[in-house]
Amino acid sequence: NAGVTQTPKFRILKIGQSMTLQCTQDMNHNYMYWYRQDPGMGLKLIYYSVGAGITDKGEVPNGYNVSRSTTEDFPLRLELAAPSQTSVYFCASSYGTGVHEQYFGPGTRLTVT
């Protein structure tokens, strides 16, 4: 049981480039989330999904897009990367209805220069 996996671990992008951060979970969780973590700012929710085919914006969605074609995968797309998107990105998942904790992946450290 691998839990939540993310690739890549590190990436450097030039301004204006695009990339996709991959996230996969093998726990059959319905809910999935993308966060960014900036120093001293805690975690901010970018997008979330409550099931395949259903996604919604979180607190800071601008500059990002997501899709959820399967229960397992929840990729995050960055279009036209900007320095403000330099951050550490975490994917998480949880069971559905009820009070459930979220399980986090190891993160992707992204630098945009």
């Binding site: 809910y31 805690g42 975690l43 409550v50 979180g58 998480a92 009820g98 009070v99 979220q102 986090f104």
Partner: protein, 117 residues
């Protein structure tokens, strides 16, 4: 507005001493509260949660947390700190606007715990 506050950016404690990491919340109704730990260059790991019932919640690695409704607090505690407990700790509350329909969490800004040998 719902929020979580962790008033201390850093807590320093000597190994073997008790530790407390503070958390206060602001949410209408009954809160669902969580503590997570983040070791360097790792994702967040779940420690414990409060749903209802006993105000003292026991979790992983010997940690516990005390829910206090009148003070709107959910402080994390451990009777005897270890150097290996040094990490970043996050308190979170479930967003009541959506409840179990999304299980969205609102996180505090984190407290760095440093345990000295």
């Amino acid at each position: 507005a719902q929020s979580v506050a962790q008033p201390e950016d850093q807590v320093n404690v000597a190994e073997g001493n008790p530790l407390t990491v503070k958390c206060t919340y602001s949410v209408s109704g009954n809160p669902y509260l969580f503590w997570y730990v983040q070791y360097p260059n790792r994702g967040l790991q779940f420690l414990l949660k409060y749903i209802t019932g006993d105000n003292l919640v026991k979790g992983s690695y010997g940690f516990e947390a005390e829910f206090n409704k009148s003070q709107t607090s959910f402080h994390l505690k451990k009777p005897s700190a270890l150097v290996s407990d040094s990490a970043l700790y996050f308190c979170a509350v479930r967003d009541r606007r959506y409840g179990g329909a999304t299980n969205k969490l609102i996180f505090g800004t984190g407290t760095l715990l440093a345990v000295q040998p």
